[in-house]
């Protein structure tokens, strides 16, 4: 089967800084891929290039049959980028809920404003997704009344309500108090179980080990390892991967 996400020869520069070097990855439909690496390794930038929150410097991004080459301009390019954004849902480290909208309004905003979906249909869909993240009872609250974990679960519901083909998670639990991480990971497990294709940038080794089909390891802008979690955690090939895993092991125990 053709991959649903195909990243080919991706390069990214921030000014003179070379943050992504020759990255090529294929992700199959329904696959859960975790991306790990030290901060500054380029893993977030890689994820953000997929929906063009960062403009890639070179290479191509392909999502569900839509291919966009870096460096293109013009109307056609903008339309392609827009279509790719509709096929990808994104969850941010800092949640980024809209503070001036209630939980329900946050979740229906995309479908109604962007897709032009009928409001009542959007509400129905939103309520389903809020229910599945366990927060339907908070639908009329404003984000400032929610805990960090609840905010992130709403953010996941917001992304899901756009009915994306691929979900991108950018360190979804890194801004959370330790006791709130579990509820978000549980929701993510549920999303994975429902068959969503997921790319997850994370420091949660336990989650990567338990849920991921594949784990990618980034270091200094390069992808140094791409393996099944069992293989990777028991037998890391690159010494930097080994150091990374050891550090989290000692950190967690």
């Amino acid at each position: 089967m053709a991959p649903i996400v195909r990243i080919s020869n991706l390069e990214k520069y921030f000014g003179r800084l070379h943050v992504l070097k020759q990255i090529s990855v294929d992700v199959a439909s329904r696959e859960v891929v975790c991306i790990i690496g030290r901060s500054g390794s380029g893993k977030s930038t890689l994820l953000r290039c997929i929906n063009f929150l960062e403009e890639p410097s070179f290479g191509t991004i392909e999502v569900d049959g839509l291919a966009v080459a870096a460096g293109e301009r013009g109307k056609e390019h903008r339309q392609l980028v827009h279509d790719i954004r509709l096929k990808t849902g994104m969850v941010f480290q800092e949640f980024n809920l809209f503070p001036h909208m209630s939980v329900l309004e946050n979740v229906i905003e995309g479908p109604v404003t962007v897709k032009g979906m009928d409001r009542s249909k959007a509400i129905e869909l939103a309520e389903q997704n809020l229910d599945s993240v366990g927060l339907l009872f908070k639908k009329d609250e404003y984000p400032n009344r929610l805990s960090g974990g609840q905010k992130q679960r709403v953010a996941i519901a917001r992304a899901l309500t756009m009915e994306p083909k691929v979900m991108l998670f950018d360190e979804p639990t890194s801004a959370l108090d330790p006791e709130l991480i579990g509820e978000v990971l549980n929701v993510m497990k549920k999303v994975a179980k429902d068959g969503m294709t997921m790319l997850v940038v994370t420091h949660e080794m336990g989650f990567a080990r338990e849920v991921a089909d594949r784990v990618l390891v980034m270091a200094d802008g390069e992808m140094i390892e791409d393996a099944k979690p069992d293989t990777l955690f028991s037998n890391p090939q690159d010494p930097r991967t080994k150091a990374l895993i050891d550090r989290y092991r000692t950190g967690n125990n």
Partner: protein, 281 residues
């Protein structure tokens, strides 16, 4: 407390140390407020006494012509609607211009950025008084004749717009990058992002300072009287004051009206601000 078998074990309700501290604090701040109010009253009485015309302990106070005040206070008060009208029209124009200038300032299109900074620089670099005269007295030389009201509102609006653009710039800057990214990630166009996500948050941020500027505007609207054709409070006060050589009384009346207006408007603004900060920030 109604007695039953367990009541005997319940300790008498006493004030905890925290309660006592809290009460002491409350008492202190109540006392402070009372003393401030009293002092205000004394200052106000002193001011009234200064204009009472009474001689006390050999101090001569100012004698006002109360007959003149009685005869003319109504005429001067008749300018209040005009003052408010000038202020409301000007602040509306200023708000629109300020928003456009702020957006221009954030634009990546060079001509728009230039237009915005040019406007702000030119207007802030020249006196408001001059600008009012420019629109009213200088433009007719080019065959453009504006009514006093129109020239005044245009000048005040342009002037305040230039200053207020900073408010909107700060308001737009207060909306974090993450908000824009979240909007873009769900597929919003730049225009949708601005309209649905950034502006509503920026406007909420900007409302209290706009209120401040509106209050300042009610006073600066007095400058429009210089055109001689807008019959607001200041114009009326100078007119009757000069005609009957009672400028002292006339200006005192006008000052009282401006003062009361700003106090009332400040009060209203306080209510609006409290309401804004209560809700769903």
């Amino acid at each position: 407390m109604r007695s039953d078998s367990t009541a005997a074990h319940v300790p008498k309700p006493t004030l905890s140390q925290a309660d006592l501290l809290y009460e002491a604090q409350q008492r202190k701040s109540r006392q402070f407020r009372t003393n401030v109010s009293l002092s205000w009253g004394i200052l106000l009485l002193l001011l009234l006494y200064l204009f009472s015309g009474q001689n006390f302990l050999g101090l001569k106070t100012i004698r006002l012509d109360f007959e003149f005040i009685r005869d003319n206070i109504g005429f001067i008060a008749g300018g209040i609607p005009q003052t408010l009208l000038v202020s409301i029209l000007s602040i509306s124009l200023a708000t629109v211009l300020a928003l456009l200038a702020a957006l221009g300032r954030l634009s990546t299109i060079p001509p728009l950025y230039a237009l915005s900074t040019f406007y702000v620089s030119l207007i802030r670099g020249t006196p408001l008084y001059l600008q009012i005269f420019f629109f009213f007295l200088a433009l007719p030389q080019l065959g453009i004749v504006l009514s006093g009201m129109f020239a005044g509102v245009l000048a005040l609006g342009l002037n305040y717009g230039a200053y207020m653009s900073e408010i909107f710039r700060a308001g737009l800057a207060s909306v974090g990058k993450g908000q824009r990214e979240a909007a873009i990630a769900i597929g919003m166009t730049p225009w949708q992002t601005m309209k649905r996500v950034v502006l509503p948050q920026a406007l909420r941020f900007a409302i209290p300072p706009i209120g401040n500027d509106f209050i300042a505007m009610t006073k600066d609207s007095a400058l429009v009287s210089a055109t001689g054709f807008v019959h607001e409070v200041m114009w009326r006060a100078t007119r009757v004051g000069r005609a009957q050589f009672h400028n002292l009384e006339a200006l005192i009346i006008a000052a009282m009206f401006y003062w009361v207006m700003t106090i009332l408007l400040t009060y209203v603004q306080g209510i609006i601000e409290a309401r804004l900060s209560r809700g769903d920030r």
